[in-house]
């Protein structure tokens, strides 16, 4: 009951955050140079058409009124209409969302086990050759530019060996798995080292903790001490990092999506910016912010499950 109460309160606290996000995204469009009405009708349209369009979209009204209208539409889930696609932005986002979500989950499921494996190996061999090797590979992994890794992998596994398709998304779950393997691998190659570094440091820190000495003084075998005391206590910082990374990936797989031609949100964002499809940009900004807030909330909930001292 208490947990439920805390959860409800936490959700209520999100309201002002969402309001703030909405205002910022609205201002984003207001403050961009250029006239949206002019954009809509093109350079050669007459003044009358321009005025008509302004009238139609309410662009000639004072901006607080426009903000009110914007909120009113937001409340109904209306994010405006794309000029390029002639479709509602919300529908557009839903259409491009699945590949991105699939890709992010794919990355997570590749990254998490690898991170655990490497970080534990490194921490248990602290200073040994395994630790050094993992560190060297890690440095390579996150210093290599993502686009270069993407191109190299697609050349090697896609073109030379022909094991994986180099573009698109496919249909059906298995085909998705096949098509998105290289994009997910490319992303994991820089993500894993970051996560390993965080987890390894936490593992080393916790293995010096007083309660670990206390557990050893009770005669618990080293293996038990590690799995029951060191690892659970070391997980939290890495979990938070994973949250931040997932939130980033939802809007940040642009390069990977571009190289592998995945029809995801990143590509939608880039192409909309290039074609000045501002209502899509605005809608996506709002969506990414919302996704970040939700992922953070999920991580916080997971934290309370692991750490009894933390309350929502």
């Amino acid at each position: 009951m208490q947990t439920l109460s805390l959860l409800v309160n936490r959700l209520l606290q999100l309201l002002p955050v969402l309001l703030g996000i909405a205002i910022v995204t609205f201002l984003l469009l207001k403050l961009t140079p250029g006239d949206p009405a002019r954009l809509l009708v093109g350079d050669r349209a007459s003044e009358e058409t321009l005025a008509a369009v302004r009238q139609e979209y309410g662009l000639n009204r004072p901006w607080p009124v426009q903000l009110g209208t914007y909120f009113g539409k937001l409340a109904q889930g209306d994010l405006g209409e794309s000029i390029r696609f002639r479709k509602p932005v919300s529908g557009l986002i839903l259409q491009f969302l699945p590949p991105t979500i699939f890709l992010v989950l794919y990355v997570v499921s590749l990254t998490v086990p690898t991170t655990l494996l490497l970080a534990i190996a490194a921490a248990r061999n602290h200073g040994g050759w395994a630790d050094q090797a993992i560190r060297v590979f890690g440095v390579c992994g996150f210093t290599l530019p993502v686009f270069w890794v993407a191109i190299m992998l697609s050349r090697l596994f896609g073109v030379e060996l022909g094991w994986f398709p180099v573009s698109g998304y496919g249909t059906g779950f298995l085909e998705h798995l096949h098509h998105l393997f290289l994009p997910a691998l490319t992303t994991s190659i820089w993500l894993v080292p970051v996560m390993v570094q965080s987890l390894r440091a936490a593992l080393l820190e916790k293995s010096e903790a007083d309660f670990v000495t206390a557990a050893r003084s009770k005669g618990l075998p080293e293996r038990g001490v590690f799995w029951r005391h060191i690892l659970p206590n070391a997980l939290l910082p890495t979990l938070h990092l994973l949250g931040v990374m997932v939130a980033y990936l939802i809007g940040g797989t642009i390069i990977v999506e571009a190289v592998y031609a995945v029809p995801g949100l990143g590509r939608l964002m880039v192409s909309s910016i290039l074609s000045r499809d501002y209502s899509v940009v605005q809608g996506l900004t709002l969506f990414f912010a919302l996704a970040t807030v939700l992922v953070t909330l999920l991580v916080d909930i997971a934290t309370t499950l692991i750490d009894p001292r933390v309350r929502l």
Binding site: M1, Q2, L4, S5, L6, V8, N9, L12, Q13, A209, D210, F211, T213, A214, A215, R216, S217, K218, G219, L220, P221, E222, G224, R228, H229, P232, N233, I306, D307, P308, R309
Partner: protein
């Protein structure tokens, strides 16, 4: 395994040496320590931090870091421990010998329920199933004096008080009925009343289960409470050992004599000024001061009917005055509001009711230049000497910062003034360019005091400044404070849970309990003839040395000097 002969020692340590390998070469922590322990005996090891007493203790359970090299011989129950493999250790630890530690909060896994932590060794050593281990854990919790053990077994460590955590740690240590318990400063982090109860528990466990105990402490008073024999260690070597009573009565080694002379209750004190300055205007007047902390705000509360204190009263209508040149002691257990009152006076938190007057002006109404002057006039020294200094600044920078910021000295004179401050607190000049990490606890505390003095304050608030220091260092800091007060005419608010220290240093004392003053008056009167039952409990809990007649006479004589 055959039952060992009753007379045979349980533990025999001979010529134990421990060296740590560092980059600068081996550092010797224990040099040739030999002693023995009979079954069912309680042995004390006393010494200051760095004397090697903890390292000796950890060597007995093989809990030293990998960089440690152990030499000599440790025989437990006839077996040589220095040749133990990791598997032998796992069998021995918890089952034969167990350990409890100084800081119970950090030695319990914060993510695991108390019952699971106690049950761990039962499941490992005694092959108990989950439910059996839980049932045993409940029994153990009740045997170490935890109320409602069937509820507490499912608590997490942060839900317990400090004393309860130490009890839970003890329950985990004795779960598999070990024959030896190593107690490394088990009461140092606890209040004096809690300390008395934990010591009582250790003594009871010793009697009931013939549990042999090695009690490590820097406080000879604690050792003398329950130990039959005591070892005195210094710089990794054993300087003296013997029966506690004999050793306290006729200490042979100069260091032992110093340890005994450093006991705060034994220090000679200046004659008190009593009541003489109670006339005139008080420097600080606290009027009906209350401080409460709000529980976190919730939009909607679904926890109806559940008990949740909406406001926590840290201080409840406290009134007292502090006159110039006076030293006022504030005593009480943790949570009694004694630090809160200091923070309210220093305007580090604001009261929910009542006023604090400084020189007749309401402290919490001050603004601008007046506030700045007030901030300068009231300085604090904190409990943890390391944590209250910026680790990246040298002593010189730490002392120069307030001088520069408040323009208390012209830039050319700052170095001179820093040197002057250092000599005031008897800090050697060659330490000025070191960082806190390179200083001892006592030296850090001197820096903290010098930093406060840099502002030439009219009121010095000392919040438990000696409680994390060794007895000998504590004695040095106390005589420093006393000298500063005599020379600079400093007014001081001295907060401590240690009644002996307050008795040695203060003119008047306030006894706090649960945010209220339960007793106040001249130190000698309050501590010699306490009226309030809580004060009496506090006093009874203070461990006392069974003093030699001469020292006893001296202490009594000064304690009862009529005001």
């Amino acid at each position: 395994m055959s039952a060992p002969d009753r007379a045979a020692p349980l533990l025999e340590v001979e010529g134990l040496t421990v060296d740590f390998e560092t980059r600068a070469g081996p550092v010797s922590a224990v040099r040739g320590v030999s002693f023995s322990l009979a079954p069912g005996e309680i042995l004390g090891i006393v010494g200051e931090s760095g004397s090697g007493k903890s390292v000796t203790c950890r060597a007995i359970l093989g809990l030293l870091p990998r960089t440690a090299r152990v030499g000599g011989s440790i025989r437990f129950d006839g077996r040589e421990l220095t040749h133990f493999s990791e598997a032998d250790w796992e069998h021995m630890r918890g089952r034969q010998g167990a350990m409890i530690f100084q800081n119970p909060a950090s030695h319990l896994d914060p993510l695991m329920r108390i019952g699971a932590q106690i049950g761990e060794s039962l499941r490992h050593h005694m092959d108990r199933s989950g439910p059996e281990a839980r049932r045993d854990a409940i029994h153990l919790l009740s045997s170490v004096g935890i109320a409602q053990p069937e509820l507490r077994v499912d608590s997490f460590p942060h839900e317990l008080s400090g004393g309860m955590k130490q009890r839970a740690l003890i329950a985990g240590a004795i779960a598999c009925r070990p024959r030896l318990l190593l107690a490394d400063e088990p009461t140092t982090a606890l209040d004096v009343t809690v300390q008395a109860r934990i010591l009582e528990l250790l003594r009871a466990l010793n009697r009931q289960h013939e549990l042999a105990i090695i009690l490590i402490s820097h406080d000879l008073g604690v050792i003398a409470e329950i130990c039959q024999r005591v070892l005195v260690m210094r710089d990794g070597a054993l300087v003296e050992q013997g029966r506690t009573r004999d050793l306290v009565a006729t200490p042979k080694h100069p260091y032992t004599q110093l340890l005994i002379a450093s006991q705060p209750g034994l220090r000679l004190r200046r004659p008190r000024r009593t009541g003489a300055h109670a006339a005139g205007q008080p420097l600080i007047e606290v009027q009906d001061l209350s401080v409460s902390f709000r529980a976190p705000f919730r939009w909607i509360d679904l926890t109806k009917g559940q008990v949740r204190a909406p406001r926590i009263r840290a201080l409840d209508g406290v009134t007292f005055a502090l006159h110039p040149g006076e030293t006022l002691g504030v005593v009480g257990e943790s949570g009694s509001g004694k630090s809160t009152v200091a923070r309210a006076i220093a305007r580090l938190l604001s009261p929910s009711a009542g006023r604090v007057l400084f020189d007749g002006a309401d402290v919490h109404q001050l603004t601008g230049q007046d506030l700045l002057r007030f901030r300068r006039s009231v300085q604090m020294v904190f409990q943890s000497p390391y944590d209250s200094l910026n680790p990246r600044l040298t002593v010189r920078q730490t002392l120069a910062e307030p001088l520069r910021r408040h323009r208390l000295a012209p830039p050319r004179k700052i170095d001179e003034r820093v040197a002057e401050l250092a000599s005031m607190v008897e800090l050697p000049q060659d330490l000025l360019d070191r960082t806190p990490r390179q200083l001892s606890g006592g030296q850090c505390q001197r820096v903290g005091i010098a930093r406060a003095l840099a502002m030439q304050p009219r009121l010095l608030i000392a919040d438990e400044v000696t409680s994390s220091l060794d007895v000998t260092t504590q004695a040095q800091i106390l005589s420093l404070l006393e000298r500063l007060r005599a020379e600079a005419g400093l007014t001081m608010l001295y907060i401590s849970h240690d009644l002996a220290v307050v008795r040695a240093l203060c003119d008047r004392v306030l006894v706090f309990q649960a945010g209220r003053i339960v007793e106040s008056g001249l130190v000698d009167e309050v501590l010699a003839r306490p009226q309030n039952s809580y004060t009496q409990t506090l006093l009874r809990a203070v461990p006392r040395l069974a003093l030699a007649p001469q020292a006893q006479f001296q202490a009594e004589g000064t304690a009862h000097a009529p005001g």
